[in-house]
Amino acid sequence: MTEFTTLDLVGTITAALLTVMVLSYLLGDNIFFRFAVYLFIGVTAGYAGSIAWHNVIWPGLIDPLISQELAGFLQPSNIVAVIVPWLLTILLLLKVSPATSRYGGLPLALLVGVGAAVVVGGAISGTLIPQSLAAMGTLTPSTLLPQAGEELIVWLERIISAIIMLLATITILMYFRFTTRRGVTGEARRSKLERIAAVIGQVFIAITFGVMYAGALAATVVILIERIQFLRDVVSSLLTG
């Protein structure tokens, strides 16, 4: 236990020093900051590799190979679960050398194909359809009609909010539409309605990004506070012994 405490103490002091070294970047780029950053990259990369090995590669590739008996090696389930993944892994590892990198195209193609399908399927079923339905349902009669016991001001607020949300959705989508017709003089020109809608869409984009910026600022202030308090605790601990 004492050893663990000592380790914790050493670790805490190390963490405090590293925090100061990183925060010294406020004064300008310096050798301490770069030292801390390189140390961070090394630890992060090494830890990520060890996590990937223990949680994915060992149970998925190595352990099935070791635990499998030779007799049952060529069973269809093992072919699917062990042999094919090994073959794909070897092909992917051939990407290291430029001479053999072209053989790594198959596992990459598998990765890309499956990833693209997951993204497309999720975008369609998880965002496009539900959000489109939500936008269409904003001004449904059930939404627009006042609910029982609802005050007028609240009902009006709800109506106006629904209209604003719908207007924001439509104008932003119109702003992102960059296909236009060519005018008489030959230059690309939007119609007046499109231009007005695009300007309104830009306003909503500015509002949305303003809210996101405020949120990010608030979040980083909290993180800064946490770091400053950590340093305060370390200093106070060292001072009090």
Binding site: L26, L27, G28, T44, Y47, A48, I51, A52, H54, N55, V56, W58, P59, G60, V114, G115, V118, V119, G121, G122, A123, S125, G126, T127, P130, Q131, L133, A134, G137, T140, T143, M165, T208, V211, M212, Y213, A214, G215, A216, L217, A218, A219, V221, V222, I223, L224, I225, E226, R227, I228, Q229, R232
Partner: protein
């Protein structure tokens, strides 16, 4: 009977045809035994030009000389030449003469050199030699007559003398390239061509140029006047040569009435002082007459010939090299060059060396305009054989290195045209603004922590529960306690300061309700972060268990939501009694087979992509299980549409420190959120003031500039 294809037009012809019926090209090479009358129909049909007639008549004197020389060839020294269908030496001479009949290869009409034109006026039809020319021709004639009187020679094949010459020498140069020829060995050109001879002298462009006759074996030319036969140019060589040419069988018999004219020509030849080689090409005339082929061709005895004075001068000036007859290894007898010509000789190192093959080795050309000639440079390897374009000849194969080098060169050339801006002196700009704002922020967040505000002091705490928090609170309160809660830790250690603070009250609420927590993460650092947060409120193995890391982003989320047990087989920091086992072996997960078996899904993330991936992928598989999200304040606006929908895909959102403080207040517990509240207030106030100052500063600049421009424009007016 097999057809013969014409080498020129590739048309089929009968086997026995001599010439092609379409284009007139010769199908069979000329042979020695071929009578001169049997000319190719094409050639025979060609009209003899007036100039050609003049040439023939003018060369009678040369023919007489030749015949005289041929008549002196001893019988036993002349051997029949082996002739083949691909005829050897005399044939080409005969062919040359036949070709020359119609070829206008001499000087064009009207462009006769002055000396020759003067000569021709005196000669008339046949070019009467005058003066010295007549004298030396007469001398030659006389000598021949005396020699002929000494012994009559049997009719021998024209090539007897030629064969005799061939015996003595190894190589008989007939064409260029057969033997090595040096300029000093090169025979002098036909120095005194008669008028008729000049035009006929350039017989053929392929006529061998290295013809020489050994003086010992050369028979005096026997000029035979023959009116009918075409005249032959005299192959007069002032110097003895090593190798005798196969030609010069003088078979031209000049008619008697022309003999006198020839004598005039002889006399006139003597007049010429200037070397002819300056004006005319050195093309020894070697025209075979068919009739004379059967006659012996006596060797020309140059010593017996009384040459004109100017020829004697040339002989004196040039060194006479005695080439032994037995030295057959040498190529040609060195020619006597005048001193001025000797001086013009190129440097030895640059002297071209041409090897001439022997007559036996020389191939007779069988196709083209040179058909039948021997010793012709083979054109097939260079010209005749068409080469097909190699595959991809038009495609330029460029290696990567070459391409890179070409790009580099192109870039360098382009840079030459570009103006390089003047190097600006780099000024070191100190980040004063960053220092000031950083100092203000650090002081703002440090002061409350240093001052240690007591409860109730400092910034006022939130006094009402936000609408979102109320919804979340009720969701957590309503979940059944027998099923575990799946908590996804999808944030990096950088956001641990905020999200640990915000998610802490929620997890504490869950554990306080007796719910078990199962953690999973798509980040490698998610599991240790989960351990750090949950270890404060629970015990590993009892209150929570870590399933570990999901590799693959959205694909891993989809796989986990579709088949959770088949996706993760290991765990992280499992209890001691579960070492080397899977996290699914934990009693917490014994009843969980699919995603919908969890009572609640909590996603803690600071990334919009991660939140969206869990919403999109888990929504079809979660069933009735509520999905709540703990988000960073900056991520919340983009996830709120999923929460604000008529059929929300997210059932609860917890974001921001104020919500966490409110949550802690409703739980009645003092956590990290409350500890950060005052510093958070000070920090937020500082940031608001900074932004406000920025807006005022920007507005001031904006308002100030237009006035400055207007003031300047007013002054200018």
């Amino acid at each position: 009977m097999a057809d013969v294809r014409c080498p020129m037009c590739s048309k089929s012809n009968p086997e026995d045809a001599e010439v092609c019926g379409v284009c007139g090209a010769r199908l069979k090479p000329l042979v020695i035994d071929q009578p001169p009358q049997e000319q190719p129909p094409g050639q025979a049909e060609e009209p003899r030009t007036e100039q050609g007639a003049e040439q023939e008549e003018g060369l009678d004197w040369l023919g007489r000389i030749r015949t005289e020389a041929e008549s002196e060839v001893p019988d036993d020294e002349i051997e029949p030449e082996e002739t083949t269908d691909e005829a050897v030496s005399p044939d080409w001479l005969g062919r040359l003469r036949e070709v020359d009949i119609t070829a206008d290869e001499g000087p064009p009409d009207g462009e006769v050199p002055d000396w020759l034109s003067a000569f021709s006026e005196d000669v008339g039809e046949v070019g009467e030699p005058e003066g010295e020319e007549q004298e030396w021709l007469d001398r030659i004639r006389e000598k021949k007559e005396t020699e002929a009187a000494e012994g009559e020679k049997e009719a021998e094949p024209v090539d007897d003398w030629l064969a005799r010459l061939r015996e003595d020498e190894e190589l008989v140069p007939e064409s260029l390239g057969a033997d090595e020829i040096t300029p000093e060995e090169f025979p002098l050109p036909a120095e005194i061509p008669a008028e008729e001879e000049v035009e006929e002298q350039v017989i053929s462009p392929i006529e061998p140029m290295d013809i020489s006759i050994e003086p010992s074996e050369a028979a005096p030319l026997e000029v035979v006047e023959d009116e009918e036969a075409p005249p032959k140019p005299i192959d007069v060589l002032p110097e003895p040569t090593e190798v005798a040419p196969p030609a010069v069988p003088s078979d031209v018999e000049l008619p008697s009435e022309v003999e006198g004219e020839v004598e005039e020509v002889d006399a006139r030849v003597d007049e010429f002082e200037t070397p002819i080689e300056d004006e005319l090409p050195h093309v020894p005339a070697l025209i075979l007459d068919e009739e004379a082929i059967g006659e012996q061709t006596p060797d020309l005895d140059l010593d017996s010939i009384q040459l004109p004075g100017w020829l004697n001068e040339l002989r004196e000036t040039t060194p006479q090299e005695e080439v032994p007859a037995e030295d057959v290894s040498q190529d040609l007898a060195p020619a006597t060059l005048p001193s001025w010509l000797e001086a013009m000789r190129p440097v030895e190192t640059f002297r071209s060396v041409v090897e001439i093959e022997s007559m036996d080795e020389q191939v007779v050309e069988s196709a083209g305009p040179l058909a039948g000639l021997q010793g012709v440079l083979m054109a097939e390897p260079v010209v005749a054989i068409p080469r097909s374009a190699t595959v991809g000849a038009a495609r330029l194969e460029v290696t990567e290195r070459q391409y890179a080098q070409a790009e580099l060169l192109h870039r360098i050339v382009e840079e030459e045209d570009q103006e390089r801006p003047a190097a600006t002196v780099r000024r070191i700009r100190l980040p004063f603004l960053r220092w000031v704002i950083g100092f203000l922020l650090v002081i703002a967040v440090l002061l409350p922590t240093v001052l240690s505000f007591k409860n109730g002091e400092g910034f006022p705490l939130p006094s009402y529960m936000p609408r979102d928090l109320g919804t979340l609170f009720s969701v957590v309160e309503e979940i059944p306690p027998e099923r575990p809660v799946l908590t996804v830790f999808d944030y990096t250690p950088g956001y641990a300061g905020e999200l640990n603070t915000v998610a802490g009250p929620l997890l504490e609420h869950i554990i306080l309700r007796g719910l078990k927590v199962v953690t999973v993460s798509t980040q490698p650092t998610g599991s240790p972060l989960a351990e750090g947060l949950l270890s404060r409120v629970g015990v590993n193995g009892e209150n929570y268990v870590h399933l570990g890391y999901l590799s693959g982003g959205s694909t891993a989320v989809q796989l986990f939501t579709a088949a959770p047990r088949e996706t993760i087989s290991m765990g992280f920091l499992l209890p001691d009694d579960m070492q080397s086992q899977s996290g699914w072996q934990s009693p917490i997960l014994q009843d969980v087979l699919q995603l919908s078996d969890f009572s609640l899904i909590v996603v803690i993330t600071a990334s919009t992509d991660s939140a969206r991936a869990w919403v999109e992928q888990a929504y079809p598989w979660k069933g009735e299980t509520p999905l709540v999200m703990v988000l960073s304040v900056g991520t919340e606006p983009l996830i709120r549409p999923y929460y604000e929908a008529l059929e929300p895909q997210v059932d609860g959102i917890l974001t921001g420190l104020p919500a966490a403080v409110t949550y802690e207040q409703y739980l009645g517990r003092s956590g990290d959120a409350l500890a950060l509240w005052n510093a958070f207030g000070a920090g937020m106030l500082t940031v608001e003031l900074i932004l406000l100052a920025g807006v005022i500063y920007g507005a001031a600049i904006w308002l100030a500039r237009p006035r400055t421009v207007e003031t300047r424009s007013e002054h200018n007016d």
